[in-house]
């Protein structure tokens, strides 16, 4: 973006970048023990890239935390380990021991899977390490309740969110003072849209999981969703055979819960092109938002989901 610097009017991506870096630095200056929640998706990728920029030449002065479900795509684990290495940051991987012991999985346990591995796992990990501020890659354009969430979002000791009791955020002044037991979820890319994210990845060559690009992959079709058979834990129904299809993913989560789209987009511009021409919103591929009607995410957040 250096060709833009001679002008005094910054581009929208430059302004978004500067805002996010400012937020990351404020937290590091004011929180006692920050952590970055890293989910390996494209939003996490941009957030991590911004953190590396914010503190360069120092490595970001906080660890990465991956609250893992053991059901992510193999490609995600690969990129996760590589990015931790390249950024010089400590990588903490947390598995909810109870979910592990009970063998909770997306095939047999439905909503309980997300609840135990992700929601409970996140709370346990934050409590275990005593992190008082956790960066998350949520964006306000993703979902209605997020449009009203603050950049610094306070959680009670039990990690609950109270949408009616949020602190006003004026100018770029953030009040990071916590009461006993409270923690903060901080969303540095709140004001980015999906298109901003893609454009930034394009301009900055931010490494992302190859699953975002189309390739021939083994798939099965269930309930109108195209699922990828990522490993041999995938229980095939009698007579079901994986079919090779040219697919890619618009959003990444646990592979048995993440629907793919048929696509030929092999390059980033092609992916962006497809994203812009598509007529369905991004999170549609995820099962999680469909619970509880329109208020699904709001309810989950009050319970402590990120």
């Amino acid at each position: 973006m250096s060709d833009q610097l001679s002008k005094s009017t910054l581009t929208h991506l430059e302004r978004l970048e500067a805002e996010s870096i400012h937020i990351l630095r404020e937290v590091v200056a004011e929180a006692e023990k920050p952590v970055m929640l890293y989910s390996v998706g494209k939003d996490s990728a941009v957030m991590l890239h911004l953190a590396r920029k914010a503190f360069y030449p120092s490595p970001p002065p906080f660890p990465l935390l991956h609250v893992d479900t053991t059901w992510k795509f193999q490609e995600m684990y690969k990129l996760r380990d590589r990015m931790a290495r390249e950024s010089g940051m400590e990588l903490l991987v947390y598995h909810n021991p109870e979910a592990k012991e009970r063998g909770i999985n997306p095939f047999d346990h439905g909503a309980l899977h997300t609840d135990m591995w992700k929601t409970e796992g996140l709370k346990q990990a934050l409590d275990l390490y005593g992190f008082d501020a956790a960066f998350g890659g949520a964006r306000r354009d993703e979902e209605k309740s997020r449009a009203k969430e603050r950049i610094f979002s306070f959680r009670t000791a039990s990690h609950g969110w109270d949408p009616k009791n949020q602190r006003p955020e004026l100018w770029n002044l953030y009040n990071a003072r916590k009461n006993k037991g409270e923690s903060i979820r901080v969303f540095p890319i709140s004001n980015w849209t999906e298109l901003d994210i893609w454009q930034y990845i394009h301009l900055n060559d931010v490494p992302i999981v190859p699953l975002y690009f189309a390739e021939e992959r083994p798939t099965v079709e269930r309930d109108g969703m195209l699922l990828m058979v990522d490993d041999d834990r995938f229980p095939l129904k009698p007579g079901e055979q994986p079919v090779m299809r040219s697919i890619r993913f618009r959003t990444l989560g646990c592979y048995p819960l993440t629907g793919a789209v048929e696509s030929k987009a092999k390059t980033l511009p092609e992916v962006i092109q497809e994203t812009l021409l598509t007529t369905t919103s991004e999170r549609q591929g995820r099962a999680i938002d469909k619970d509880a009607g329109g208020a699904g995410m709001e309810k989950k957040k009050q319970e402590g989901y990120f």
Binding site: H12, E26, L170, K178
Partner: protein, 637 residues
Amino acid sequence: MTDILDEPIYKTDALIAEDIDQYLKVHEHKTMLRFITCGSVDDGKSTLIGRLLYDSKMIFEDQLAALEADSKKVGTQGQDIDFALLVDGLAAEREQGITIDVAYRFFATEKRKFIVADTPGHEQYTRNMVTGASTADLAVILIDARKGVLTQTRRHSYLAHLIGIRNIVLAVNKMDLVDYDQAVFDAIVKDYTAFASSIGIETFTAMPISGFKGDNITGPSANTPWYKGPALIEHLETVEVNSAADAEKPFRMPVQWVNRPNLDFRGFSGLIATGVVKPGDAVRVLPSGKTSTVTRIVTMDGDLDQAVAGQSVTLCFADEIDCSRGDVIALADNPPQAADQFEATIVWMSDEEMLPGRPYWLKIGTQTVTATVQQPKYQVNVNTMEHLAAKTLDLNAIGLANLSTDKQIVFEPYKENRTLGGFILIDKISNATVAAGMLNFSLRRAQNVHWQATDVTREFHAALKNQKPAVLWFTGLSGAGKSTIANLVEKKLARMNRHTFLLDGDNVRHGLNKDLGFTDADRVENIRRVGEVAKLMTDAGLIVITAFISPFRSEREMVRQMMQPGEFIEVHIDTPLAEAESRDVKGLYKKARSGQLKNFTGIDSPYEAPEDPEIRIDTTAMTAEEAADAIVARLIP
């Protein structure tokens, strides 16, 4: 109407399919505008925002399907699409049919990305509007063409102007309902012009629109051939953004964080508030005033040869000068000033009213200090802009007051610099953000009143009396036994030849504080004065004993901070309310219960018990005599 909906809105759609690389080139170099929409539900604000999202293709098919279904179920537009449903977010709000918070919406055209702060319009949401306006480059003031300039129009315009928004758009909405009549539009503009100039708004852009029908939103409407100005989107795409104006001002950057990965590198990270910086520039670090030269502007993408307002950068200096978080790096020969007393405009944002004299945290830029606000000079009636006398400010009140900080802060008047002039106040106990404010100017007094250093020092006074000064600060409910025990303690100390003085609540209120009542604000001032007197007495070498209910933690903490470390000894005379009430030595509880006495601690005014007092006396477990002995033993082991 239908031809407006069917028209392809943005030509860029074709470009996406034809030449994605060219499309990206255009879109990766567009600028950003943040704006706020002001108006209430009736003005069609949500409908307008929903329309902007819809017209700029920010609504996907699945969302549209949900919207169509919702429109029929709960919409207010019959069988038509109710765009307002797109932006009414939280479940609680949808049930109540109102917007209760600030929501941020996003859309983009080929020229700009837009962030819309969508805030509710009613007076009880003034704080939400001020919050949304604080980051806005522009305000769209919505008027219902059938109703004209209303009280709320004046309020919204005043607030937008107060927060420093220079670009005002007067959107006369619902023109379809007045048959697109130019006379209606002109009359409203004339009305508004008179009002706007009366509050100092010099220019604004008026346009006749219909959010519901889509007139003059994305392009000129055939329904208003008499209107020659720009359509709303066209105007939003071309007005100047704040950051461009900020770049013209002298260089200032508050330091957020010192970057020190190893002994060979020391950089100062921050977001440039105003101006431009280049390697070789002479800079000054404030408040210390030390100067140096910028050697590098470091980023992960390589060093820059210049950086401008709005960029987050890391600067390196030629010299090893002190510089840390809270300092401000500025142009060497044109630096901002530092001061500790100011006149400020304050917007109160908490359910708990402002307490003049209570210490709050004040955060401005990256500086955080302790500040106390004086009684307001006046409060502004946000509907009429009249100045009203006020003793305090409560939720959504806006007023003018002097404030002082416990140390100097680097600042500029808000009008010149939002970053160095805009601040928030934070309650020290609840940690809530209770107010936003704007520094207008520093008070000369701050520069001219100096502390008079005296030759006979406090150490000398203490040595002469052969004792260590202290404050025994008794706190507890009315009737807990504070005065009784304090009196015994003083007698015992006197017998030990200690020089003491007992400040008793009732007695002080007959003299020094006879102008104060029992409101929360007056209780705070009562304690502040007693604290100052106690401090002077400890300077004189005395052991001061105070017996005041002093119900609030904040004020006890304030007095503790006034004293030398270790000199403040908090004594909690802990008597349960039921016990104190049953004693009722002065008959006050009875009066309070019957309603004859207002603001009585424990009954209709809170008592905040100390969390960690130096001494706690349980009066249900010991006599007054035993309590006094215990306290004396703690003071003089």
